[in-house]
C-alpha cells in the first residue's frame, strides 16, 4: 500500500475542519511556491500543499515512467491525495501545469473538487496552425538543454538531504539554489510532459466554478492563452492581475490572495 501523503510530501495547515483549499505547484519548483499565499488562508481554510512526485520532498522512488508520462498520471496522484485526506468539495488552486492537472483531476473526481482556480494556465504550449501557445518544438528542446546545463551541479548524494527536509531549508542553505531541486532525469521528463501535452479538449469538460488568474506579461502563459482557457470553460471568471511574470504567487502574493478570496466569497444574491 502506497502512503500517498508521504509519496507526495503532503502538508496540511490551517483550520482542521475548515473548507479545504489545495495548492498545487507547477513545473520548476515545489510547494515552497505557495509560502506567501498559504498563510492568508490558514485562518479560514484547511490548507493542503504537496509536491508532485519527483519534486521537492516527494518520494523519488514513487516516480513511475509510465504513469507519469502523461498529465493524467499526475491527476491520478492528486485524486489519491484528496481521497487520502477524504476531502470533498475542495478548492483546487493549480499553478501553471497544475492548472491543467486540476482540470483533469476535477473530471476524475467531481465530488472532491468543487472549484478550480487556474493560475497562469496553458492547455497547450506549442503553437499549431490555428493556435498560439507561445512556443515551438525548438524552444522546448532549448529548455531541455538548459535543464542539462543547470543540473550538472546537482549531486544525487545531496538529494536525500534536500528532499528529506523541505521544511527545514536551513539544512540546504549552504547549497546553492537549494529550493526547487530535483532529480535531473525526472525534471527532464516532467518538462517534456508539461510542454508537449495538449489538453485543450479537456477544458470543455470542466463543470465546476472556475477562476482563471492571468498575469500581465507572462511569457510562459501569455494573455491570449489565458483568454482561450476562459472562453473554453463555460461560466469561468477571468481576472487579469497587475502582477507580471509567471509566478504571481511569489511576485504578487497579496494580489493573488485577494483575487482568490474574492472568487471564494459568497456572491451577493
Amino acid at each position: 500500500m502506497v502512503d500517498v501523503l508521504q509519496r507526495n510530501n503532503v502538508t496540511v495547515s490551517g483550520v482542521p475542519d475548515g473548507p479545504a483549499l489545495v495548492l498545487a505547484h507547477g513545473f520548476g519548483c515545489d510547494q515552497n511556491m505557495w509560502r506567501y499565499v498559504a498563510p492568508a488562508f490558514e485562518a479560514t481554510h484547511r490548507v493542503v500543499r504537496f509536491d508532485h512526485v519527483g519534486a521537492g520532498g516527494s518520494a523519488l522512488s514513487a516516480y513511475d515512467v509510465d504513469r507519469h508520462a502523461t498529465l493524467g498520471g499526475y491527476a491520478d496522484d492528486v485524486v489519491e491525495i484528496l481521497a487520502a485526506l477524504d476531502l470533498t468539495d475542495s478548492v483546487f488552486v493549480g499553478h501553471s501545469v497544475s492548472a491543467t492537472i486540476g482540470v483533469l483531476a476535477a473530471a476524475r473526481a467531481p465530488d472532491r473538487i468543487g472549484r478550480l482556480v487556474l493560475v497562469g494556465p496553458s492547455p497547450r504550449y506549442i503553437d499549431d496552425e490555428m493556435y498560439t501557445g507561445g512556443f515551438t518544438q525548438a524552444d522546448i528542446d532549448g529548455l531541455l538543454e538548459s535543464l542539462d546545463s543547470n543540473y550538472l551541479g546537482w549531486s544525487s548524494a545531496m538529494a536525500p538531504v534536500i528532499m528529506g527536509n523541505p521544511d527545514r531549508p536551513e539544512l540546504g542553505s549552504e547549497l546553492t539554489n537549494s529550493f526547487c531541486r530535483t532529480d535531473p532525469e525526472i525534471a527532464r521528463r516532467f518538462a517534456r510532459v508539461t510542454f508537449t501535452s495538449d489538453n485543450r479538449a479537456d477544458l470543455a469538460g470542466v463543470s465546476v466554478p472556475t477562476l482563471v488568474l492571468q498575469c500581465s506579461d507572462d511569457v510562459i502563459a501569455p494573455e491570449t492563452v489565458g483568454r482561450y482557457v476562459h472562453e473554453h470553460i463555460a461560466g469561468s471568471t477571468f481576472v487579469m492581475l497587475d502582477a507580471t511574470g509567471h509566478c504571481p504567487n511569489l511576485s504578487a502574493p497579496a494580489e493573488t490572495v485577494a483575487a482568490i478570496s474574492s472568487f471564494l466569497a459568497p456572491q451577493p444574491a
Binding site: 507547477g26 513545473f27 520548476g28 519548483c29 515552497n32 511556491m33 509560502r35 501553471s96 512556443f135 515551438t136 525548438a138 524552444d139 522546448i140 528542446d141 532549448g142 529548455l143 531541455l144 538543454e145 538548459s146 535543464l147 542539462d148 546545463s149 543547470n150 550538472l152 551541479g153 546553492t176 539554489n177 537549494s178 529550493f179 526547487c180 510542454f195 507572462d218 511569457v219 510562459i220 507580471t244 511574470g245 509567471h246 509566478c247 511569489l250 511576485s251
Partner: protein
C-alpha cells in the same frame, strides 16, 4: 594590483591604475557583465562589458528590455520557471547557466549570479545581476556530457556483447548461431535489420538467415573485402543497391561484417543501422561480434556435421535382420540420446552361431559422437566375425581383447554376450564390465546373471583369461540384455535399478515378446527424451522344437 610597485616607472603606472580604478570605471569595464534592474525587471543600468559581449547599445536595453527579453527561448522558460522563483524565495541565486541572444542573433552562454534589493518593508526594489562569459564552460560541459554519453554507451555495449557471447556459447547448430546474430544486431547496435548471409550450397549465391523474407543474394557487396576480414561499410556500388533492395530499406547504412574463424570468412553479418551508427567505436564492436559469431559458426558447423554423420552411422550399423526362428522370439529397442552430438556407441545384435544356437549381444563403446559410433561399428563386426562355432563367450572376449589393441576407440568398451541353445535352453554367457543379463522365469522372480564377469575389453593388463558361466532357461523364459542407460540413475544405486528393471520385465511377462522392448523402455525411461543412448534386447524361449534360419526378415519391434 597585488604586486608591490617598484621603481619610478612602476610607481607612475600604479598611480594611473588607481586612477582608472574609479568606481565608475570599475563598473563599466569590470571583467564581468553587470545589470541592474527595477522591481518589474526592466533594466536600469547595463555596463560596457555586457554591451561589448552582446553587441547591444545601451539605448536598446536600458528602460526597454528585461533580462529575460535577451535570453534564448529555452533559457527564458528556465528563467520563468526556475530562476525567478528561486530569486524570490532565496533573495539570491548563484551560477545559473543561461544563453543570452546577442544583437546579431548568436548565443552567448553565460553564468548568472543575482541578488534582490529589498526595502525595509520587504518590498523588492530591484535586482543586481553579474554575468560571466561561460563559453568555455559550456564547451567543457558539452564534452562532459558527450563523455558521459559515450561511457553509458560503452557500458551498454559491453553488457550487450556479453549477452551475445553467452548466447553464442550455448548455440549448438548453425541455425542457432544465425538466430543469435539476427537478434544481436537490433539489441546491441540498434540495427533495424540484422541477419546472416552464408555461401549457398551450390557454391553460388548467398543464403539469408534473419527476419523478413528470404533475402538471398547472387553477389555480396564487398565480398573481396569481407574475405580479407574487413568490414564493408556500404559506401555505394551496385552490389550494395541490390542488397538494400533485397532488405527493403531505403534509408540507414548497410554494414557487412565478416564472420571470421581463423583466417577464413564463413559468411557475413548484414545490418542496417542509423546513419550515426558507423562511428569507429561501432565498427570495432561490429568486428568483435563478427569474429565471435564466426568462431561460433565454425564450431556449430563442425558439430552439425559430426552429429549428422554420427547419427547416420549409428543407424546404419544397427542390425536390420535378426534371426527368425519359430523357437525364438526377439524384441529390440534402441533409443539414441536426444542431442545428436551425444550419439553414443551402444549396440545390440543377435545372430545364428550354428543351426541350433543363437548369439545375443549388447555392448557399449565408451565416449560419444562420431568416434564412438565408428568404433561401435568395428566392434560389432568383430563380434560377428570372431564368434565361431566352437569359441564360446570367454574365448570370444579374449579375441576381442586382441582386436581392440588396434582399435583404441573400442578399448574399455563393455559387452554382454550369450549363446542360447534353442534345443534345450542351455545358456552360456560372459559379461565384460557390462550390467548382468536378466532372466525372467515363469512363476519365479527375475534373476540377474552375475556369473562370467570380467573387466571391460582391453583392460586385462596382461592377464588374458576371460571367464564364462552357464545356466539353463526353462521353457517360456525370457532373457534381457541391455545397456547401462537403462539402469543408471543418479538417485539410486545400480543394483536397485537392476531390480527395478527386473520388476518391469515381470510386469510385462504376459505380454507377447514382439514389441515388448519398446514398452519396457517406455516404462523405465518414460516416453520423453533421454540423455544417454539406450539399448534393450529381449528374447523369449518358448521351448518348442523346430529349425533355425539365420537370415530371414527382421522381427524386431
Amino acid at each position: 594590483m597585488t604586486d608591490a610597485p617598484q621603481g619610478s616607472t612602476d610607481q607612475r603606472s600604479a598611480s594611473a591604475a588607481r586612477q582608472h580604478d574609479s568606481a565608475e570605471d570599475l563598473f563599466e569595464n569590470a571583467p564581468c557583465g553587470y545589470l541592474s534592474a527595477y522591481a518589474d525587471g526592466r533594466l536600469a543600468r547595463v555596463n560596457q562589458t555586457f554591451l561589448t559581449w552582446t553587441g547591444y547599445t545601451r539605448d536598446e536595453l536600458v528602460d526597454r528590455r528585461r533580462l529575460r527579453d535577451v535570453l534564448s527561448a529555452g533559457s527564458r522558460i528556465y528563467h520563468e520557471t526556475h530562476y525567478a522563483p528561486l530569486l524570490r524565495m532565496q533573495g539570491s541565486v548563484r551560477a545559473i547557466a543561461m544563453d543570452v541572444v546577442r544583437a546579431d542573433g548568436t548565443l552567448l552562454p553565460v553564468l548568472l549570479n543575482a541578488r534582490q534589493l529589498v526595502g525595509e518593508d520587504g518590498t523588492v526594489l530591484g535586482v543586481r545581476t553579474s554575468v560571466f562569459d561561460a563559453s568555455d564552460r559550456k564547451e567543457y560541459e558539452r564534452e562532459l556530457l558527450a563523455a558521459r554519453h559515450r561511457a553509458e554507451q560503452a557500458t551498454a555495449w559491453v553488457t550487450g556483447l556479453e549477452t551475445v557471447v553467452a548466447a553464442l556459447a550455448a548455440a549448438s547448430s548453425v541455425d542457432d548461431v544465425c538466430r543469435v546474430m539476427a537478434s544481436a544486431g537490433p539489441e546491441v547496435l540498434g540495427a533495424r535489420v540484422s541477419g546472416v548471409w552464408l555461401p549457398g550450397s551450390g557454391a553460388t549465391g548467398w543464403t539469408w538467415t534473419g527476419p523478413g523474407e528470404d533475402h538471398a543474394l547472387d553477389e555480396l557487396p564487398g565480398a573481396d573485402a569481407l574475405r580479407d576480414g574487413q568490414i564493408v561499410t556500404g559506401d555505394g556500388g551496385t552490389g550494395e543497391d541490390a542488397a538494400r533492395a533485397r532488405l527493403g530499406v531505403d534509408d540507414g547504412r548497410l554494414l557487412l561484417a565478416p564472420l571470421v574463424a581463423g583466417d577464413r570468412t564463413l559468411g557475413a553479418l548484414g545490418l542496417v543501422v542509423p546513419d550515426t551508427g558507423t562511428a569507429p567505436d561501432h565498427l570495432r564492436l561490429l568486428a568483435t561480434l563478427g569474429s565471435q559469431a564466426g568462431q561460433a559458426l565454425d564450431r556449430a558447423r563442425l558439430s552439425d556435421q559430426q552429429a549428422r554423420v554420427a547419427t547416420t552411422l549409428q543407424a546404419s550399423m544397427l542390425p536390420t535382420g535378426l534371426p527368425a526362428d519359430p523357437r525364438l522370439e526377439v524384441s529390440a529397442c534402441y533409443r539414441p540420446a536426444v542431442d545428436a552430438m551425444q550419439v553414443g556407441g551402444d549396440w545390440f545384435d543377435a545372430f545364428a552361431v550354428d543351426a541350433d544356437r543363437v548369439a545375443l549381444v549388447v555392448g557399449d563403446v565408451v565416449g560419444r559422437g562420431l568416434h564412438a559410433a565408428a568404433a561401435m561399428g568395428q566392434l560389432r563386426s568383430a563380434v560377428r566375425a570372431l564368434a565361431t562355432v566352437d569359441s564360446g563367450p570367454a574365448l570370444l572376449l579374449q579375441r576381442l581383447d586382441d582386436f581392440v589393441e588396434d582399435v583404441p576407440a573400442a578399448q574399455t568398451a563393455t559387452l554382454a554376450y550369450a549363446e542360447l541353445d534353442l534345443r534345450d535352453g542351455s545358456l552360456v554367457y560372459a559379461c565384460a564390465g557390462h550390467p548382468p543379463p536378466l532372466v525372467v522365469t515363469p512363476g519365479r522372480s527375475t534373476t540377474p546373471l552375475w556369473g562370467g564377469r570380467s573387466t571391460p575389453l582391453g583392460a586385462q593388463f596382461g592377464i588374458h583369461r576371460r571367464t564364462q558361466a552357464d545356466t539353463v532357461l526353462r521353457p517360456g523364459s525370457r532373457l534381457a540384455l541391455y545397456s547401462d542407460g537403462l539402469v543408471e540413475r543418479r538417485d539410486a544405486p545400480l543394483d536397485e535399478c537392476i531390480d527395478a528393471l527386473g520388476s518391469v520385465l515381470e510386469q510385462h511377462a504376459e505380454r507377447a515378446v514382439a514389441g515388448v522392448a519398446e514398452v519396457i523402455a517406455d516404462a523405465v525411461l518414460g516416453s520423453g527424451p533421454t540423455g544417454d543412448d539406450v539399448c534393450l534386447l529381449v528374447i523369449g524361449w518358448p521351448g518348442h522344437v523346430g529349425g533355425l534360419s539365420a537370415s530371414a526378415p527382421a522381427r524386431t519391434a
